[in-house]
């Protein structure tokens, strides 16, 4: 399935919720959508297009906003699709996909603790890999492993 076909299938059903479908190497395409129509898109991708297997959910911190991406696989089509949406950094909420793909449960827990995205209506949004009560979201860019200046100095002294 090509990006064009994906767009033709999704556009009438999602309307303004669909921001665009770009070709993406090794996949059917990269579907960008607005977070308000997340559930409608997931349902369409799962039931309508048959991408029944959710492979991963991840988050990227772009400092001014955060991106949440989903990779789903369709067995009959033998290909992946990438879904991605942007959430503002001061209001990082998106609807949970766990009601459509139960597999999303753990992946969303991981994205929640590492990137700080909050998945609404998630059945059990607890921390998974980091300890209970841990305050940080380690994969945010504001969480520094060390100061960049120190590194610069080290390099020059080599």
């Amino acid at each position: 399935m090509l990006a064009e076909e994906l767009r033709a299938h999704l556009a009438p059903k999602l309307g303004e919720g669909l921001l665009g479908v770009e070709p993406f190497e090794r996949m059917a395409g990269r579907v960008r959508f607005q977070r308000a129509s997340a559930l409608a898109l997931f349902r369409e991708i799962h039931d309508g297009l048959g991408y029944t297997h959710l492979s991963m959910v991840g988050g990227i911190d772009w400092v001014d906003h955060r991106e949440v991406f989903y990779v789903a696989w369709s067995d009959p089509r033998k290909e992946y699709v990438l879904l991605s949406t942007d959430v503002p950094a001061d209001d990082p909420h998106v609807e949970s996909a766990a009601s459509i793909w139960p597999a999303a449960n753990w992946h969303e827990r991981e994205a929640f603790e590492l990137v700080g995205v909050i998945f609404d209506h998630h059945p059990d949004l607890r921390r998974l890999l980091t300890p209970e009560g841990y305050e940080f979201h380690p994969l945010l860019r504001s969480f520094k492993l060390h100061e960049p200046e120190e590194l610069e100095v080290k390099k020059r002294n080599v």
Partner: protein, 381 residues
């Protein structure tokens, strides 16, 4: 009977690594389970953001310490994709060979640990003996037995040594009859069948819903193998069958893995034949200097001048011994990846634990969890 929660782990012989399985029981019956992960979380995705592309390979060996080369392959494919690097064909075949030898080593390791869980002691020793032969082969061309650091963006670090293919063929000849011995020890044992048959059943529908992949999925009768469905490296040029079973239980997973061992030997032999006939370069010749390619040490200016970096997003997926692993690498044009995200197959397989644990008995937990083939390093990352 009174209900209670018990902890199996983090130090329990069943766990094979540091993690805790909280089990809610009523007498002997499991009412609920809650795996607690994170004891081995090292923040590999975070550290990767701070390293050069080739330096992340070191972390990949530690991500899954029983299948290091498969994870190196996974990451390096995504990184090459993001950096727009072409790889010579011989390097692709060497990676295929590595993947399959790694699958053999990993499955034998699983076999050895698993049969010990269900009360058979001697297969453990046989398994470790045979796995060592594969590790010896790895040592002969990577220098390492567990952490290899062999792949590089653009190819592999060095070519196979002289006489390697003959030695590898001898190992294959030795291994194939050993797999029959394993089967005789396990399938011929009444203990094995009493402890494994009909346990931990996970239907095909549940497998798909919960994102379960690998031998667990194939043992439920779903024919899904990335090596066939979406061939990478040289898998489209080798001939093999997808191992399948339809019982969806612990015995089914055992049968799938045993068949995969035999198929891996078949693939390895084809790779060795090809490598014998086709000498050639194993490293791309035109690599950006800042990448830190072997034989071309990065100069100081290579670190400091930021120019002409390509940008891109790389995605790759491989059929790792435990299931389907994926990597997502975002390259925004720096020396370091902006974001690296890995999908661990065992992470997803464990996420479905409630589905294949509830209703069984406490004594069934070791065989069921053993059949999942847990590698905590890749779950926690």
């Amino acid at each position: 009977m009174s209900e209670m929660w018990i902890n199996m782990g983090p130090q329990h012989p069943m766990t094979h690594g540091l993690w805790n399985l909280r089990v809610h029981i009523d007498g002997e019956i499991i009412l609920d389970v809650d795996p607690e992960m994170g004891y081995l979380h090292r923040g590999i995705e975070k550290i990767s953001e701070d390293r050069h592309y080739n330096e992340v390979i070191t972390l990949m060996d530690r991500t899954c310490y029983v299948a290091g080369l498969a994870w190196e392959h996974l990451y390096i494919m995504a990184a090459e994709d993001a950096l727009h690097i072409e790889v010579p064909e011989r390097a692709l075949w060497i990676r295929t060979l590595n993947d399959e030898f790694q699958r053999i080593a990993s499955h034998i390791m699983w076999f050895a640990a698993f049969v010990q869980d269900i009360g058979l002691m001697s297969p453990f020793l046989y398994g470790m003996r045979d796995r060592d032969l594969v590790l010896d082969l790895f040592q002969s061309f990577t220098g390492g037995r567990l952490t290899y650091e062999y792949n590089r963006a653009g190819g592999v670090r060095n070519d196979l040594p002289l006489g390697f293919t003959d030695r590898a063929r001898k190992v294959c000849d030795w291994l194939l009859p050993r797999f029959n011995e394993y089967d005789a020890l396990c399938l011929g044992s009444d203990i094995f069948h009493r402890r494994c048959d009909g346990l931990g059943v996970l239907s095909a529908q549940d497998c798909v819903d919960y994102g379960v992949t690998g031998p667990m999925l194939r043992s439920a009768g779903v024919r899904r193998d990335l090596r066939k469905d979406r061939p990478y490296a040289s898998y489209d040029k080798v001939d093999f069958d997808v191992a399948m079973a339809n019982t969806a239980d612990v015995t089914g997973r055992y049968l799938v893995r045993m068949e995969e061992l035999r198929q891996s030997v078949r693939i390895v032999r084809q790779c060795l034949d090809w490598l014998d006939r086709h000498p050639g370069p194993v490293m791309a010749d035109r690599l950006p200097r800042w990448l830190g390619a072997p034989y071309a040490p990065v100069g100081r200016e290579g670190y400091l001048l930021k120019r002409n970096y390509p940008t891109g997003v790389g995605f790759s997926s491989v059929e790792e011994p435990h299931g389907e692993a994926q990597a997502y690498v975002v390259n925004t044009g720096g020396e370091h990846p902006y974001r690296v995200k890995f999908r661990s197959p065992v992470f997803a397989n464990l996420g479905a634990a409630k589905k294949y644990m509830i209703g069984y008995r406490v004594a069934d937990i070791p065989p069921i969890m053993g059949s999942v083939d847990i590698c905590v390093g890749e779950v926690d990352r």
